[in-house]
Structures are given as structure tokens and as C-alpha cells.
Chain length 527, copies 2
């Protein structure tokens, strides 16, 4: 049941009088639920509970935290069809996507549980004493990762499950040993409350401290700002727009004690189509990219918004097939009227730049909130000269940039803003002969893809989802995959610390049986 | 020979007319050298050369980079006695310290060379394809760390060698594959130029690209600010004051593309003296701490500026012996008149707080620039109420805080600002029975020490030198030890990338023979 209340720790709370509704974009009407904006008192109580919970939670064992994460996954599953129905109602996304995303969300929680059970992620590093060393003896030093403290998570609009209440940020922070306060995304606050209720049931079932998780409602920006400024908060995870992410980043840096904000923001995910690939498989790639650009109404952070090629027959043929294929696809319902109007505005703004021409566009009538796809074309030199054309248009939109030659192509890539992904379509010989292209692309992105589409993200240890600014605020970290846990921890060294007082991960006899770096050698052996 | 010029890449350059001198604090007179402030043109040229050098340097193999770092160490050694003489002249520090620090500097360079030769630091992580996976096939993804780009290093006043021109920040950034531009510390610009000349010789000897290293002079803050704001710069390393580090941090965050600043700043390094330790070994600890507080005229970031104990006979006796021991020690020459006057000012400011009383103080005449030690005492409640008393006084100074009981002690620790180190003096039973004390201390520091002094830092994999703000701007990283390399790199994933185009670290046959995480298992095996 959706109550519209906040979870301040384990307690449902609605102290404030201001409420707001979510919206059904398909029916184009508000939903029946009213959500209570969190008050200052509720914000403070959530932050105090989180600080207090941290004292117990930071010493919870890996096995206990794993059981907690698995319990969350189970409780999400136990929500059953009501979760899927509310998800669809609040997002306009189809049932298959809802179920797939629920599966991914539970999969993420279980992936972190596996990481915790295995245990080596704490990066235990041990240098034993050398009392005889000259000119000075060396003392015993041992280092491992420990949690930073309470983390605030901002849910994303486009992943109501996998990157919201119990999504990757929450799962990684809880796995790290950090309490989490979620600022619920106002577009799917009902989905958020259901998932929050599942987390609270898991907290109670596994005996985790009250305050290890809170879920606060807000339709504006003040609640989020107050959370980021709260002295008890030690880190922030955000997925959303460049404007929103940068604002939180600046705010967090102006605190008396600045805290890290990992914001995954804008990306147009350049795709470099080399001539050989287009000559051999241009038709197939055009079809595949028509699908990738319109997947989920284009509402993916990895959506390919920029296609780069070299002028010539191959590129002309590719553009022509791409245009035909994309016009065959039915427009899809977007997440919310605000997302839809933002899309239309961005699309028109870029289309109105005099350097651009339309390759393909759907301009027929469609139901309200349905995003109609468009592909533009522009010359390389014009693209470089006009930064407006580099903006992300969140939706089924892409720009095809025609470069004069390989040198101009390299220049375009060199001057690009940071991106989540960069793709090369080519044959293997081209990848060798166009080495500087791949090299330039690597310098601008977090993930390189060969002969594929950037949409679709694996949750695995080798995934990097994050890139040079503005793709994210810190390219040294990822928000997807198990390495996402590293955003919420810091190393602590123990010098000359007695065996029985050391954490298990650092004890001589390696009771957790984890991989450690001992005197410069990776080993699972005892000392 | 000291020319007073900048190194803009491999070229000596003095385009500006503004010059400044360094200072001999022992003789209390300026040195004979004049240094040319870097001009805007020189700053830009250094940044352009660094950007261009990065294109070659980022693909330099680990072995080649190791040879480069070893060559730097050799060339520093080849500078011979002139380096030691200039170091002493510009710092007032004794010959033993100069030679020790030179040894540590060469040791750091060699430690990073060893890390590069071994090669596993790139954190290669491989998840192979599962084409048969249901419901979707899984593609091959491989991730490793790559360098971010040119790094600006600000040398520290108190380590003219080990944390300046070729110090830990420079060594770690060059090891990572990042070009370095040093903003030379104005107090030891001559030492800096000599070391820079050694680096340039190593660049030429090992065929590294021109621009991989530059050394720019400046006595003010503008050159540093311009470097931090330069779009070619992708990260900053700083060791110095909270004010200086925070200003650079804010500046870097206001860039169009914010960049990470790792600033190692202020720390008063709390030492908790438990009653058992003082009862059993109070006299020995007092003697040891008198030495630690005055070591190097107290000019260490790990200097113990805060002693915490519980009221009682043991603490009284400890204070009395500490006072006597510290008054026996001859004051030492400080690095520069500015450091000396800053010390005297800070000492007097804290001494003038009405809650404090003097435990020990040297007030007799001493030569100019000699820092005269002082120990104050204050009650726990007064310490908590007056944040002025938490300030770092850079020099041979410490405050002894007398807490009423264990609860007040825990409160004091809980409310402390972030610190580089925290020490517990106790017997092993006390460490167990005062568990919450150790736990609270761990939450405020980067390195915990049992029964030792915080001064003296090992350069090894398990070292953490960095802590919660304001000890450093990002507690997730260290500036000492081989993990310092992680500040200058970011992960990149390669998806479905052909074998021959992959970096060696990610190839199936593991030609570098490094430890990798392959499908969740740590192994050095081929795939």
C-alpha cells in the first residue's frame, strides 16, 4: 500500500502539510497518490538516525551485510505485481522493461552480496615489521578500506528501480557499510515508497540498526540541498542532468567539510563509423542504430546521440538507410510531461541551428508525451564551431557529423566533452590503421565499445560507467558494477596494532580467507 | 648551477622581469640567487607541451616509465653535495636531515619503478563473453586504469625534496603516465631548480617527450592559480596549509571542467594516552613525545599537536615529566621567517585563550627564526567549547587535554576535525576495554598508531597519508606510499575489443604476467 509518507529510518512519517502527486504519462493524468514533502525535522531526524546507525553498521560483518542485501532483493520480489503496476503507471514504460529492471535491481543487490561474501574487495594490504632494518627499523603497517559514513542518494528519472531507491548507488553504499538516505525521485515516488518499504522490512528481518535507511519525499530541490549540506552526510550519489548534478557538486564543495559527490550526468555517447564497416555492413548497422537511438524512447544515459563518419558514399548510404529505419519505428511514451517538453525543446533548439539539416524526422500526430524521433546532419567543422550542437537531447535524437577526412574526425573527437561511452564501428584492420582515432576516443570516455551499441550496461566487475566531466563529476569512479562500492570507502592504516584488536581482514591468520597484498605479493596465505 | 630560470619542458626560460630570492634562515639573510617568476606565456607553453607530451607518454610502457623514474633518482644522486648545500642553505635544516630526505626521495622514485615493473597496479579486470547467456548474451568487457592527463604539483615548504619537485606527488603522477608541471615552492626554489635539472636530464637520457616535466617559479599565488585553471590540466597535488589547499580546491571546482585536487593540509594528530600506559611507562612516553613534538622544529604534518588523557595522578606525572623533558631540548631553526612568525603568532593566540595554562615553555633568547617549544594544558569541556584550540600550530607545540572520564574523552574524539593520524598509548587490555575510543578515533583519521609516535612515515603499499577533511581534501586517497598513484588514473572499459588492439595488460595471454581479476577470480593465468 502506498501511504505517501516518508520513511525516517523504520518509521513512516508525514509531519509536513505540503503534498504532491506523481503522474501517469500514458493517460496524461495525475496518479491517485499524494506524497508528503519531508520537513526540516524529518530531514534532521533521518540524518541523526543515520549517524547513530553508522556506529553499529560500520562494524557489521560482510556476511551480515550480504544477508541484508539479499533480504532486500527478496522483499522487492515479495512486493509482487503491485510494484510492476505502479512502476508502469508512474513511468509510462512497458511491462517487459519493468520486469527486466526489477530483475536487474535484484541482480545488483545479489552481486554486491557476492562481493561481500568473497571479501577481498577491502583491499587488505600488509607490510610486516622489519625490526632489524637499517638505518631505521620498520614497524608493522596494515591497511584496508572502511566506510565513510551516511550517504545521500538521488534517484534517477529513467531507472525507477535500478538507479533509484534500492538501485546501484544504494546497494553499493549499503555494501560499503554506509547508511543511506534516499531523496526519492518525484516522478516515481510511489514506486520509491514500495521499494523503501521492502528495504525497511529487510532492515527489521536481519536486525540492522534503525536509521541505516531512510526515504524522503520531495518534489522540489530544497530537501536534497539540505541533505547534501547536513554535517552528518559524508557522500552523495546522483544520476541526472548536468545542471542538477553540477549544482549539488558545487554545493557539497562549499560545505565547511566538503564531501565527494559522484554525479553521473550528461553524455551523447559518440559512435565513430569507419568507412570499412559501413561498406561491409552499413545496412545492418543502420538498422541496429535506429533501434539503439529509439530504445526506451531514447531515455538512456548511454543513448547514441552523436554519430561520426567520414564523407563519402558509404556514409551517404548509411544515413539514408538509418533515416528510413528510424521512421519505421513507432514513437514511445516518455517518462513525464516535463521530460517530453524538455526533449521537444532540445530537439527544436538543435534543429534550428542553421548548419544542420534533417536526415529523418517523425512529425505526424502522436499521443501526448510521446517522443518523436529525429536525426540531424552537420559538417565536422560546423559541429566543432557550435557547442550548442554538443548538448545532450534526452530522448530519441541523434546528430550525424560528416567529417572531411580522418584528421578532421580526430579533431572532432579531441575537442569533445567527456562521455560515458565511445563506440567504433569498423573492421579489425581499420581499428589498427585508425589507431589515433581509438586513442583520442579513449581519452574522452569511460567505456570503449567495438562493433556494438552503447545502450545496455552489464553489471559486472569490469564495467566502467562514468567518464571525464561532464559525463560524471569524478572519472576515477563508476556508478555501475561492483567497483561502485569504492566511492563510499576510504583506506585506514593500522600501525603496530595488536593482533586481537585488528579487523579480521588484517589478522595474521587471514580468517576471512581473502586475497591480500602481503609484503608486495598477492596471496591468500596466512602470515 | 642555479640559473634562476624556469624549465618549460626541457628548456630553460626567463621571459619575465620579476624576480625573487630564497632565504637562509640560519644566517637570517637572503641567498644569492634570483628566480624569475613564470610569465603567462611560459605557463601556457608548459601546459601545451604537457598536453602534447601526454599523447606519447600515456602509452609509454611500465618498463620505460620505471627506467625514467630510476634515471631521475640517479640524476638526483649525481647532483652530489651541491644539492645538500643548497637544501641546507634554503631550509635551515641539518645535513643529516638533508641526506635522509634525499635518500627517501630516491627511495620513493624506486618504489614506484618497482610498482611499474611488477605491473599489477593497473587493476586489470576481465569478464569474458557468455554468448549463450539467457535472456541476453554477455559481451566481453575488460577494464584497466589509464592516466588522466597533465598534473600540477605544488611543492611543500617542509619537505624540499621528498614532497616537492621530484617528491611523492611528482613520482606518483609520472608513474601513472601523467606529465607533471611543478609550481616550485618559493622558499626553496634553488633546491627545486637543481632537482628539476636532474629530471630534465633523465627525460633526455631515457627519450621521454619534451613537456613531460616543467618547473615554474613563483613567489605569489597567481602562477599556481593560472595553472589550476588551465584547461589542459587534469589534476592537482598539493601539500601545505588548510587555507592554501582549500582555496585551490574551490578554484578547481569552479572550472568549466572541475578537476580533482588532492590537498594534504592541516592535522594536529591526536594522541590518546590511556591510564595504564602512563602508569607503566609514563616517563618513557613523556621523553619520547618531547622528542616527537620538537623533531625537525615541529615542522611535520604528523607532528603530535594534541595529547588527550584522563585526569588523574598518571596524567599529572606524565605532564610534569613531559614539561621537564621538552625544556631540556634546544630550539631548532625553522624553515623561513614567515614560518617562524606564523608559529609564534599561532602559539601566542592559543596561549592567550583564558582556558589554557602553560605546562612547559622555552622563553629564553634564541637566534632569529628558532622556534621555541611550548606545551599548553586545557580541560576537555573547554577544549570542545573553543574551536580555536583545535587549530594546527605548525611548529614545536602541543596541547594536553585533560578529560574528566572516558565518556568525555570519547566525546572529544568524536567532535575532532579529520586528522592524518591518531595514536593510542595503552596496554593491550586497555585497547580492548576502551574499544569505543579506538573506534571513534578510527572514524576521524587516516592512520591509527598503537604505542608509537606519529612522526615518521613509511613509504610502502600499506601506508595511508590522508584523512577526513581538513587533513586532506579527499580521504579516499593517500599522498604517501605506492597507492598515491591512484589519484591520477581512471578506469576505462574495453567492450568487445579485438585482442590485438587491447593493451597488453588486458590481452588473453597476459604478456605482462600480472595479477588480474578474471571472471571474479584473482589470477596470473592466461585466459
Amino acid at each position: 500500500m502506498i501511504t505517501g509518507k516518508n520513511y525516517v529510518g523504520n518509521e513512516l512519517s508525514a509531519k509536513g502539510g505540503i503534498t504532491y502527486s506523481t503522474f501517469d504519462p500514458k493517460l496524461n493524468i495525475p496518479t491517485e497518490w499524494n506524497f508528503h514533502e519531508a520537513t526540516d525535522e524529518e530531514i534532521n531526524t533521518a540524518a541523526e538516525k543515520a549517524k547513530s546507525a553508522f556506529k553499529a553498521y560500520r562494524n557489521t560483518s560482510g556476511i551480515q551485510k550480504a544477508d541484508f542485501l539479499i533480504a532486500i532483493a527478496e522483499e522487492i520480489e515479495n512486493l509482487g505485481d503491485v510494484l510492476i503496476r505502479v512502476y508502469i503507471q508512474e513511468s509510462g514504460l512497458p511491462e517487459g522493461r519493468a520486469k527486466g529492471e526489477r530483475g536487474r535491481t535484484m541482480g545488483q543487490l545479489r552481486a554486491f552480496a557476492d562481493l561481500l561474501k568473497e571479501g577481498s574487495w577491502v583491499d587488505a594490504t600488509i607490510d610486516t615489521a622489519q625490526p632489524e632494518r637499517q638505518p631505521l627499523p620498520k614497524t608493522d603497517i596494515r591497511k584496508m578500506l572502511v566506510p565513510k559514513g551516511p550517504i545521500v542518494v538521488f534517484g534517477s528519472s529513467n531507472f525507477p528501480l535500478a538507479f533509484s531507491t534500492a538501485g546501484g548507488d544504494t546497494a553499493s553504499a549499503l555494501a560499503a557499510g554506509c547508511p543511506v538516505i534516499v531523496k526519492s525521485h518525484p516522478m516515481h515516488a510511489g514506486t520509491g515508497e514500495l521499494v523503501a518499504s521492502a528495504i525497511i522490512r529487510a532492515v527489521e528481518r536481519t536486525g540492522m540498526p534503525d536509521g541505516v535507511f531512510s526515504n524522503l519525499n520531495s518534489s522540489g530541490i530544497e530537501v536534497g540541498q539540505k541533505l547534501v549540506m547536513h554535517p552528518n552526510v559524508k557522500g552523495v550519489g546522483f544520476t541526472g542532468s548536468i545542471r542538477g548534478g553540477t549544482a549539488l557538486y558545487q554545493l557539497a564543495n562549499e560545505r565547511k567539510e566538503p564531501i565527494p559527490v559522484f554525479a553521473e550526468m550528461g553524455s551523447i555517447n559518440p559512435v565513430v563509423a569507419l568507412p570499412g564497416a559501413l561498406g561491409e555492413n552499413g545496412g545492418l548497422w543502420a538498422k541496429s542504430y535506429a533501434g539503439s537511438i529509439t530504445l526506451g524512447a531514447g531515455q538512456f544515459c548511454t543513448n547514441p546521440g552523436l554519430l561520426l563518419g567520414i564523407k563519402g558514399n558509404e556514409l551517404d548510404a548509411f544515413a539514408s538507410i538509418l533515416g528510413k529505419e528510424i521512421e519505421k519505428i513507432e514513437p514511445g511514451c516518455m517518462l513525464h510531461p516535463n521530460i517530453y517538453s524538455g526533449y521537444e525543446k532540445g530537439k527544436e533548439e538543435l534543429s534550428s541551428q542553421s548548419e544542420t539539416q534533417i536526415v529523418a524526422s517523425i512529425d505526424t500526430e502522436a499521443p501526448p508525451n510521446y517522443g518523436k524521433q529525429r536525426i540531424l546532419m552537420v559538417d565536422g567543422s560546423d559541429f566543432m564551431a557550435n557547442p550548442k550542437l554538443h548538448q545532450e537531447v534526452f530522448g530519441p535524437f541523434s546528430i550525424l557529423v560528416q567529417c572531411e577526412d580522418i584528421n578532421e574526425l580526430e579533431k572532432v573527437i579531441d575537442q569533445l566533452e567527456g562521455q560515458l561511452t565511445g563506440t567504433i564501428l569498423g573492421n579489425e584492420e581499420e581499428l589498427q590503421s585508425y589507431g589515433p582515432i581509438a586513442e583520442a576516443l579513449r581519452n574522452r570516455v569511460g567505456r570503449l565499445i567495438f562493433n556494438g551499441v552503447p545502450t545496455g550496461v552489464e553489471v559486472c566487475p569490469s564495467m566502467q560507467h562514468g567518464g571525464p566531466f561532464p559525463a560524471s563529476t569524478d572519472s576515477r569512479f563508476t556508478s555501475v558494477g561492483t567497483s561502485a562500492i569504492l566511492r563510499w570507502v576510504r583506506p585506514v592504516s593500522y600501525q603496530n596494532w595488536p593482533q586481537q584488536a585488528l579487523p579480521d581482514a588484517l589478522k595474521d591468520d587471514n580468517p576471512l580467507d581473502i586475497m591480500r597484498l602481503v609484503n608486495g605479493r598477492h596471496t591468500t596465505s596466512k602470515i
